[in-house]
């Protein structure tokens, strides 16, 4: 029996180079999203067996550079340094070679075992570029593999080369970059302050160059060195005479890239690509917006209308299966606890999850198509100015839009945000975007209490209030969370691609799997918890722990003119906001059809308005809480979000009731 040799290969690359296609091609279905503690970035890992090796591929986040500018860059860099992969593979889009070589130069400074994959060779050829692969490989001093990933060409070559590099059968002479007379003396000067290798695992030269580039993490790493003070005071001295040293280094790298390209690429004068012509229309100042509205209406329809349709089918199938397979067993359960647990706890919990999955799948599908095709970047450009009115980043647009349907996909849609901080803000404001479930309850109650004209005003007010809260919360978080240096938009407009079905399907599959695994267990547990609250100790809602809680909160409710019954319904609403109506009919002991009449007899219009205000503002549902936990990977932020929305709801409820009393009495 031969022993399987395990190796790790990191897959690096700038965004939009087809890296995920290469990753999918290599690992197929044997991939999963890795749970890196404390990270909000999705990192995929996958396994490939080849020639007696078990190769673990780690798909690093797409980055343009390896300076600690964004969270993604820090993660990619740390993995290359601390994860000690056996080989680093950089995927390059051959048709935009120049852009990608910037990352190559930085990878060469960080690792000796680099393989460059020139993907999209066909598109480069179509653009009229002739790339001398052998020459490029010789200059860089590392293997270069041409590839057309969408057609599967070049994958075998890459795998073979990885093994050759691991076994030391390839001579690697990585390009050593010299920064010339302006920078090298400064590096030497800094090196003079250092006696030995300052930090284990890091090359001293690399750390010093990063320091000159003003890299904040490099400073953090250097702090561990006993020579830190000497190095930093020397660095500050250098900065006084060379304030632009970071830009000088970047410029020098670009000059080097120009030289590399001159030697290895023959290129006719830049042609106008099809994408550029398409963008004249898509980004047009007049027709750009209607196109965007069209695209996103379709997306919204696909996720929520089609999603709900599928949910209904799946839900009926689920109850059919339950009835036929286990129905007879269920009927035999006589123990009241076991019966209640299965009928009112476990089965509804499964039902909630089962009906969520089709919608989440549709959303992830639409999301993958938007990202893969390149349209997302255009939408960001068009929406940026409007989103800034809400205090959010242009890339948060999809998240807010989806939030109107359901906050769960809304929160998942924040994945496109590059900075941890921007993403956190987008996640935390999303629960305040009124979802369809809340809007449904709102329409029902508003129409009971107000005649049509006033009803419209009230609904507009509630929606405007929600959006105001989104904007205010965004602005508040922007102040509170440590600011990064700038917030302005910088985004690449990639060439348009027709998304590959296989790629999209794989991407969606892996993400749905991760959602089921991480979020659904939490949703399940929460539903059971709420069942417990309303069942124990007496099997009667009115005397349950939940009702006792509601009663004990009545003094708080009085401040907003709400009795314990209203409060209990609101607690029930955490299950899912549309459940509020069902909960009320249980508590008021009426059929759902006649609930309206009863409510009209017990509430004044002002109480109804107050109830709705609270309903709109507090945490949407347990699924939202679960997905916040999954996406932030932090209980702290999950708890904070819940406490924040609850307090906000309370304050606004009190304000609405008391200010309203002045006018409506």
């Amino acid at each position: 029996m031969t022993l399987v040799k395990r190796i790790t290969v990191a897959l690096a690359g700038t965004p939009n180079v087809g890296k995920s296609t290469v990753f999918n091609l290599l690992t197929g279905l044997r991939q999963y999203t890795a749970n890196w503690p404390g990270k909000t970035v999705e990192i995929k890992e996958g396994i490939k067996e080849f020639n007696g090796y078990e190769i673990k591929f780690v798909d690093l986040p797409g980055t343009y550079s390896l300076t600690a500018y964004s969270y993604d860059e820090v993660i990619a860099r740390r993995f290359i340094v601390d994860g000690r992969p056996d080989v680093v593979v950089q995927v390059i889009d051959a048709s935009t070679l120049k852009k990608d070589l910037y990352l190559t130069l930085q990878l060469l400074e960080l690792t000796d075992k680099l393989i460059v994959v020139l993907n999209m060779m066909d598109i480069a050829k179509m653009k009229g570029m002739e790339i001398n692969v052998a020459k490029l490989s010789k200059i860089l001093g590392v293997p270069v593999i041409p590839m057309i990933a969408v057609k599967g060409i070049g994958v075998e070559d890459l795998l073979k080369k990885i093994i050759e590099v691991v076994e030391g059968r390839v001579r690697l002479k990585p390009l050593r970059i010299s920064y010339g007379e302006k920078v090298e003396p400064l590096v030497e000067k800094l090196r003079g302050a250092v006696h030995k290798n300052i930090i284990e695992g890091y090359s001293t030269r690399w750390l010093l160059i990063k320091l000159l580039e003003g890299d904040k993490e490099a400073v953090e790493i250097l702090k561990k060195s006993p020579e830190y003070n000497d190095v930093i005071s020397l660095y500050n001295e250098i900065l006084k005479t060379n304030p632009n040293i970071g830009v000088v280094i970047a410029s020098l790298r670009h000059k080097m890239i120009d030289t590399i390209c001159k030697l290895s690429v023959r290129q006719p004068k830049e042609l106008r690509t099809l994408s550029e012509r398409v963008d004249r229309i898509v980004l047009h100042k007049v027709i750009g917006l209607p196109i965007l509205v069209g695209v996103f209406s379709t997306a919204f329809f696909a996720v929520f209308t089609v999603g709900e349709f599928l949910s209904d089918i799946v839900s009926s199938l689920f109850s059919l299966v339950v009835d036929t397979l286990v129905g007879s067993y269920l009927a035999e359960i006589t123990d009241p606890l076991a019966r209640s647990l299965t009928m009112d706890g476990v089965l509804p919990a499964f039902d909630v999850i089962v009906s969520f999955i089709p919608m989440i799948t549709m959303f992830l599908l639409v999301y993958a198509v938007m990202e893969d095709s390149g349209y997302m970047a255009r939408a960001t450009v068009i929406m940026d100015k409007y989103m800034h009115l809400l205090g959010l980043h242009g890339k948060a647009f999809l998240s807010v839009l989806m939030g109107f349907g359901c906050n769960v996909p809304g929160i998942m849609a924040t994945r496109g945000l590059e900075h941890h901080r921007d993403r956190l803000i987008a996640i935390l404001v999303n629960p305040l975007v009124p979802c369809a479930a809340r809007l449904g309850v709102m329409v029902f109650i508003v129409n009971l209490f107000f005649e049509p004209f006033r009803a419209t005003l009230v609904m507009v007010w509630l929606i405007v209030l929600s959006l105001l809260l989104v904007a205010l919360t965004g602005a508040l978080l922007d102040k509170v969370i440590v600011k990064r240096e700038f917030t302005e938009l910088i985004i690449e407009l990639p060439e348009y691609h027709i998304p590959s079905i296989k790629n999209i399907a794989l991407l969606t599959w892996v993400r749905v799997k991760a959602f089921v695994k991480r979020a659904c267990t939490l949703i399940f547990a929460s539903v059971i918890l709420i069942w417990f609250l309303y069942t124990f100790p007496t099997y009667e809602v009115e005397t349950s722990f939940g009702a006792q809680l509601g009663r004990s909160l009545e003094p708080l409710g009085k401040l907003m003119g709400l009795d314990w019954k209203a409060i209990v319904s609101l607690i029930f609403g955490l299950l899912a906001k549309e459940q509020v109506l069902a909960a009320m009919s249980v508590i008021y002991r009426v059929e759902e059809e006649s609930l309206g009449e009863v409510l009209k007899s017990v509430w004044s219009p002002l109480q109804a308005l107050t109830f709705l205000t609270v309903l709109m503002v507090y945490q949407p549902c347990v699924a939202t809480i679960a997905v916040i936990r999954k996406e932030t990977n932090s209980w702290k932020w999950t708890l904070l979000s819940t406490v924040y929305t609850l307090s906000l709801a309370l304050i606004l409820g009190i304000l609405t009731y008391n200010i309203g009393s002045l006018f409506l009495r």
Partner: protein, 76 residues
């Protein structure tokens, strides 16, 4: 005869050479990493209320208008 104007004021289709980029350390370096360095050739693709789309060394990026006001370009 050369004029140096901010990127934000260039018209769609207009070309030029970057002369200087103003702003904080991080943002200047970020733009530099994407190829927007002094000496780089640029062409404005679209520019109206909102971000400016600019072609630079073989690909296109969109940058916020405020930022585009601080990128100075020499045009004919």
């Amino acid at each position: 005869m050369y004029n140096v104007i901010p990127l934000a004021l260039m018209k769609p289709g207009q070309e030029g050479v970057v002369v200087r980029v103003e702003g904080g350390f991080g943002v200047v370096r970020r733009l530099a990493e994407l190829g927007l360095v002094p000496g780089a050739k640029v062409r404005v693709e679209s520019s109206y209320w909102g971000p400016v789309v600019v072609w630079v060394s073989g690909f296109r990026i969109a940058i916020g208008r405020g930022l585009a006001r601080r990128v100075w370009v020499r045009v004919d």
